[in-house]
């Protein structure tokens, strides 16, 4: 379902990894457009290149060839520092294993991306409180990750991803480590962020049940686009 102008434009994208003497081509000239405000599920077997594609879109990895444009900006041409600043401003990541810092409380974890912004302590605290409220965890703000359930940890991860109000929300198997009920809660949350806050969500998943929540399902295999269904 196309709901606006393309926010992500990918042309002939190639990504190779070196494994010893062997060169493995993970993405083999892939082209894809993703519209602003869309909710896209990337599916495919292991090694199909879906996580690699997500990493490239998020600017945490670099392609070997091809073009990658996000909001009209050639992300593949940015230097390391510029790419880091771009990530801080435009991308929110949600990881399968949550990747919270265990020594920090939930609110300190959510605050992390805001440390890079020119904000006062009060402004940061207000934004953190709003993000935690949005994911329904205001009462767990002072808790450390080990004091939270898996679902709650993932919700903290989502709060951290949205606290800077990014345009892109990139989720790598966000329900992969959760039971069905907690997974549904997370998917409801992602849907709400997409519908009510207009976030463009790109989600890597193995789970067809999770993929059903997306507007569009893109199947990858051996580094190429195999199927694109709305």
């Amino acid at each position: 379902m196309s709901v606006g102008r393309p926010i992500v434009r990918i042309r002939d994208l190639v990504k190779e990894y070196r494994r010893g003497a062997e060169v493995v081509r993970v993405l083999d000239g892939l082209s894809l457009d993703i519209e602003a405000g869309d909710f896209v599920a990337l599916m495919g077997p292991s090694g199909s290149g879906k996580s690699t594609l997500l990493n490239l879109i998020g600017g945490i990895d670099r392609p070997n060839a091809g073009e990658l444009e996000v909001e009209g900006l050639r992300v593949d041409r940015l230097g390391d520092a510029a790419l880091a600043h771009w990530r801080a401003d435009h991308v929110g990541f949600v990881f399968q294993m949550y990747n919270l810092l265990p020594v920090l409380s939930a609110e300190r974890n959510v605050e992390l991306p805001l440390l890079l912004k020119d904000l006062s302590r009060e402004q940061r605290a207000r934004r953190v409180a709003a993000a935690l409220r949005l994911v329904g965890l205001s009462d767990r703000a002072k808790h450390r990750p080990r004091e939270l359930s898996g679902g709650q940890e993932q919700r903290v991860g989502i709060a951290r991803a949205i606290v800077t109000d990014p345009t892109l929300l990139l989720c790598d198997e966000p329900t992969g480590d959760l039971d069905r009920r907690s997974g549904d809660e997370i998917l409801n949350l992602l849907q709400a962020l997409n519908r009510e806050y207009g976030k463009t969500v790109i989600m890597v998943t193995h789970d067809p049940h999770a993929a059903e929540r997306a507007h569009r399902i893109v199947h990858l295999d051996k580094g190429l686009l195999r199927e694109d269904t709305a």
């Binding site: 945490i60 880091a84 990530r87 990541f93 810092l101 020594v103 920090l104 991306p113 890079l116």
Partner: protein
């Protein structure tokens, strides 16, 4: 600016509390050792720093235990550039027990006080000492050590000088107590030369050495040469050098202790560098995926480099400040104990400044390699190691 990162830095330090504690504790000990060694060096060099550059010592060429004729005084006074001359002699004093050695010297009071204007005492005490031939002037540290007060009669024993009555006990009265500027030696005792000359059983007309004051410190070298030339080829040839040079030569003899201490501290610092670097390397290795997450969130490579370096410096500064504070506290606590033997034993400001530089440099050096590794870490690889 760095304040907002403090919770993150402090959380990193609290991650392995025991390891952080032991690392900081060893840094505390390293800087405590450094502080004590510097206090010792300061005490040893204090005498050199306050020794007068315009005061010379003329002694027998063979040794200061060999005596010089009293008649040399007027001949030295006649040399151009000399403004004052006064004799002194090693008395070899002890009090109550031979182990209680006291640096005591018979002196001529008026020129002695002119020679040492830095010695201060109440005017009435000064007059009392000048007018009493058996009176003595004692330094504050010495008086405190034996509980002497003005007016006390002290039976001073001499290991060298026998009196005409055949005894070695010289009854003297404390008439004045002097103070000296910071680091000055107040362990000395001065008797009247007249009393000493009259009462001693031998060595009449002989003195230990001469203190010579020159008009200008720049003349010290040429005046020294002239004095020694005057008495060349005589039965008692002289050797003249500045008081500062004499003090420095004494410190150089004792100074080996300082050098040994400094070598130990250097070795300890080097060990601390390895220990802290190891701690930081472990800490960064354990946080590989977290560093990947931080970079994913937008922390730049240089930002991560800075964060690891600041963390490392924080560890060494906490340990260093505690160590120097402990050294300073010990200096204050033990100053009264050391006053008699090591006046000026305390942590000087220069050492605190040097210590601050060392602790920062230690932190930067220890954190350099782990910080560079963290900086170079690729996000995808870091996240994969989760």
């Amino acid at each position: 600016m760095i304040g907002k990162y403090l919770p993150l830095l402090s959380a990193s330090l609290r991650r392995k509390k025991l390891r952080t504690f032991f690392t900081i504790a060893s840094i505390v000990i390293a800087f405590l050792l450094f502080g004590l060694a510097e206090s010792m060096r300061h005490a040893l060099e204090a005498g050199v720093n306050i020794a007068g550059a315009d005061r010379l010592l003329t002694m027998h060429k063979v040794s200061f235990t060999q005596l010089l004729p009293a008649s040399y005084e007027n001949r030295i006074r006649g040399i151009a550039g000399v403004v004052d001359v006064t004799p002194q002699t090693w008395f070899g004093a002890w009090f109550k027990d031979e182990r209680n050695q006291i640096p005591a010297f018979p002196v001529v009071p008026e020129p002695f006080l002119r020679m040492y204007p830095e010695y201060s005492m109440p005017e009435d005490q000064k007059q009392a000492w000048l007018s009493d031939r058996s009176g003595i002037l004692v330094g504050r540290a010495l008086a405190d050590a034996y509980g002497w007060k003005v007016g006390d009669v002290v039976p001073l024993h001499s290991a060298i000088w026998r009196k005409q009555d055949g005894t070695f006990v010289w009854d003297v009265t404390v008439r004045a107590i002097y103070d000296a500027p910071q680091g000055g030696d107040t362990r000395n005792l001065a008797l009247h030369q007249d009393y000493f000359e009259e009462a001693k059983a031998f060595g009449k007309g002989l003195v230990g050495w001469y203190l010579v004051k020159v008009r200008d410190p720049n003349l010290a070298r040429s005046v020294s040469r002239q004095i020694d030339q005057v008495f060349a080829n005589s039965p008692a040839e002289t050797k003249t050098s500045s008081e500062r040079a004499m003090a420095q030569s004494f410190v150089n003899q004792v100074g080996n202790v300082g050098k040994i201490l400094r070598a130990i501290v250097t070795a300890v610092f080097f060990t601390m560098l390895l220990v802290t670097a190891n701690t930081m390397a472990q800490s960064v290795r354990e946080r590989t995926s977290e560093i990947g997450v931080l970079k994913t969130l937008g922390f730049t490579n240089t930002g991560v480099l800075g964060m690891v370096l600041v963390e490392s410096v924080l560890v060494t500064v906490i340990g260093g400040v505690l160590g120097l504070a402990a050294a300073w506290w010990l200096g204050v606590q033990f100053e009264p104990v050391f006053r008699q033997y090591l006046p000026g034993f305390h942590l000087p400001w220069e050492a605190i400044l040097a210590g601050s530089i060392y602790m920062t440099a230690l932190g930067l050096a220890a954190g350099a390699v782990p910080a560079a590794q963290a900086m170079r870490l690729r996000i995808v690889e870091a996240l994969r190691r989760d």
